[in-house]
C-alpha cells in the first residue's frame, strides 16, 4: 500500500498554503469587485456565495489549524497537523466547487458585477495549477504519485478511472442546480445551460488532467540520457500551438479595432467575443508555460541562476493571470474619461515597464541557458529580435500602420518561440545524475 510519509507531510504543507493563497486571492477579487460596485453607485456591496464559502471556510480551517497545533511540535504532532490540513484541503475543494455549482441559480448579475459566472474560479484554477506545479516539482513529488510507478496500461487505466470518478462526482450537484433553476425560474433554457456547463466543465477538467498525467508519465519513464524530459518538450510544443492561436487572435483583434467599424456588423459584440476568447487562451498558455518551466526546474540544480530565473518566471505568470482577471473588473468602474486617460497616458508607460521586465528576464534566461546548460548561442537572437521588432512596431505605430506593426511583432515572437523549442528539443547536455531512473543499480 502506498503511504509515503514525506509526500504526506509535503501535501499537508501544500494544502495549508494553498488554502491561504485561495483566501487571499478571493479577498482581493471580492474587494476589487465591491469597490467597483460602490464607485458605480450601487449600495449593495455583495459577495457571491462561492466567495463567502471560500472566505469563511478557508479562514476557519486556518484558524482551527493554528490554534490546535501551535504547541508541542514533536514528530507525532507535526504528522497529525499534516494529516489535518490534507483532509481539510480536500473538504475545502469539495465545499467550494459544490457551493459554486449549487448556487448557480441563486447568483444574481448584481453579485457578479458584470463579470462572468466563473471569472473568479478560472483565476483560482490557473493560480492553483501554477502553485501545484511549482510546489510539487520543487519538492520532487510527481502528480499521480501513488500509481505513477505502475506500468503504462495500469497507469492510464487508473487515470481514466479518476476521470470517470470526476464525471460521477460532478453530476449530482449540477443536476440539483439544474432542477432548482427549473423550479425557481421555470426556465428550461437555464436548466439546459447548467447541464451543458456540467459537460463542458467535466470535459475541460478531464482533458487538463489527462494532459498533465501524460506529461508526468512520459517524463517519469524517459531515460536519464542528458536530454530535457520528454514531458517538458511535449508541453513546449503544445504551448507553441496555443501561442500561435493567441497571436492570430491578437492580429484579428487589432484588425477589428483599427478597421472601418461601420463595415463590420455588431462590431462591439465581435470585439468583445474575440477579446474574451483571447483571454481564455492566454490563461491556457500561462498554465502550459508554468508546466514546462516547473518540469525544467525539476531537472536543473537548485541555487543556479537558471533556477532563480525559472522561479521568477512562475511568480510573473501568477501576477499576469491576476492582472488579466482584475483589469476588466476595474475597467467597469472607471468613467469614459478615466479609461481614456489610462489608455492614452498610463498604459503606454505600463507597457514600457512590462517590456523592460520581460526583456530583462529573457536576457537572464538565455544567459543561463547558454552559460549553465551549454545551449547554442543562437538563442541570443531572441532578446535581440524582440528589441528590434519592438522598435519597428513603435515606428509603424507612429506612422499609423498599427496592423503591420502587430503582424510583424506577432510573427517575430512566434519565430523566437519556435527557435527556443527547437534548440531545447535537440539539447543533450544535461548532467546525468545518480538517480537510477532507468532501474539500474
Amino acid at each position: 500500500m502506498f503511504n509515503d510519509e514525506r509526500i504526506n507531510a509535503e501535501c499537508g504543507k501544500i494544502y495549508s498554503r494553498g488554502i491561504l493563497l485561495t483566501v487571499l486571492i478571493t479577498l482581493l477579487y471580492a474587494m476589487s469587485r465591491t469597490v467597483t460596485l460602490v464607485i458605480q453607485g450601487s449600495l449593495h456591496t455583495v459577495v457571491t456565495y462561492t466567495e463567502m464559502m471560500i472566505l469563511i471556510f478557508g479562514i476557519g480551517i486556518l484558524f482551527v489549524g493554528t490554534l490546535r497545533f501551535r504547541k508541542n511540535r514533536d514528530e507525532r504532532i507535526v504528522r497529525e497537523q499534516h494529516s489535518f490540513y490534507k483532509k481539510a484541503g480536500k473538504a475545502f475543494i469539495v465545499a467550494v466547487f459544490g457551493t459554486y455549482i449549487l448556487t448557480i441559480p441563486f447568483t444574481t448579475e448584481e453579485m457578479l458585477g458584470g463579470q462572468s459566472h466563473n471569472h473568479l474560479l478560472i483565476l483560482l484554477e490557473v493560480i492553483g495549477c501554477l502553485y501545484l506545479f511549482y510546489t510539487f516539482k520543487t519538492k520532487e513529488i510527481n502528480f499521480n504519485y501513488s500509481f505513477i510507478a505502475e506500468d503504462g496500461s495500469r497507469y492510464y487505466r487508473q487515470v481514466f478511472l479518476n476521470i470517470g470518478g470526476l464525471f460521477l462526482c460532478l453530476f449530482p450537484p449540477f443536476l440539483l442546480a439544474s432542477a432548482w433553476e427549473l423550479t425557481l425560474h421555470e426556465s428550461w433554457a437555464g436548466a439546459l445551460t447548467i447541464l451543458l456547463a456540467y459537460f463542458s466543465s467535466s470535459i475541460g477538467l478531464s482533458v487538463e488532467y489527462f494532459f498533465i498525467s501524460l506529461v508526468e508519465k512520459t517524463s517519469y519513464d524517459s531515460m536519464n540520457d542528458g536530454r530535457l524530459a520528454l514531458g517538458t518538450r511535449i508541453t513546449a510544443v503544445v504551448y507553441l500551438v496555443v501561442s500561435f492561436s493567441v497571436s492570430v487572435m491578437q492580429c484579428v483583434y487589432v484588425h477589428l479595432v483599427t478597421g472601418n467599424l461601420l463595415e463590420t456588423p455588431n462590431v462591439g459584440s465581435v470585439i468583445a467575443f474575440v477579446s474574451q476568447q483571447k483571454l481564455r487562451i492566454e490563461y491556457l498558455s500561462f498554465v502550459l508555460v508554468g508546466l514546462a518551466v516547473c518540469h525544467l526546474l525539476s531537472q536543473i540544480k537548485k541555487g543556479t541562476r537558471l533556477y532563480t530565473v525559472c522561479r521568477i518566471k512562475m511568480l510573473l505568470l501568477s501576477l499576469a493571470a491576476i492582472e488579466a482577471t482584475l483589469t476588466p473588473v476595474w475597467y467597469r468602474a472607471l468613467s469614459d474619461h478615466a479609461i481614456r486617460f489610462f489608455v492614452n497616458t498610463l498604459d503606454p508607460w505600463l507597457s514600457f515597464v512590462s517590456f523592460i521586465i520581460t526583456l530583462t528576464l529573457w536576457i537572464l534566461f538565455v544567459h543561463s541557458l547558454v552559460k549553465e546548460l551549454g545551449l547554442s548561442r543562437i538563442l541570443w537572437l531572441i532578446p535581440v529580435l524582440r528589441v528590434a521588432v519592438t522598435c519597428i512596431n513603435i515606428f509603424f505605430v507612429s506612422q499609423n500602420m498599427i496592423r503591420l506593426g502587430t503582424y510583424c511583432q506577432q510573427t517575430v515572437e512566434m519565430g523566437c518561440l519556435i527557435l527556443l523549442v527547437i534548440v531545447m528539443w535537440r539539447y543533450r547536455g544535461l548532467e546525468i545524475g545518480d538517480d537510477d531512473k532507468s532501474g539500474a543499480l
Binding site: 509515503d4 510519509e5 514525506r6 509526500i7 520532487e140 513529488i141 538517480d435 532501474g439 543499480l441
Partner: protein, 64 residues
C-alpha cells in the same frame, strides 16, 4: 549522503524503484534519503532496515 543504505541496497540487488515499491514509498523519497536530503521517521527507517536485512545502527547511525 547515506552511503551505507545505498551499499546495502546494491548488495541486495535492488534498484531505488524496487525498494520504494516494496516499502510503499516513492522512488524520489528513497533517492532523497540516500542523498541525505530527507530525514526519515523511525517508522520508515525500520521498514528500510527490515527489507535490507540490517539494523538501525548499520544504516542510520552517524559515525563521528
Amino acid at each position: 549522503m547515506n552511503e551505507k543504505m545505498k551499499q546495502a541496497r546494491t548488495e541486495k540487488k535492488l534498484s531505488q524503484a524496487e525498494l520504494a515499491r516494496i516499502i510503499g514509498v516513492s522512488r524520489q523519497t528513497i533517492n532523497m534519503i540516500e542523498k541525505g536530503d530527507y530525514n526519515p521517521t523511525i517508522g520508515l527507517c525500520r521498514k528500510i532496515c527490515k527489507v535490507l536485512g540490517c539494523t538501525l545502527d548499520d544504516l542510520f547511525w552517524e559515525e563521528n
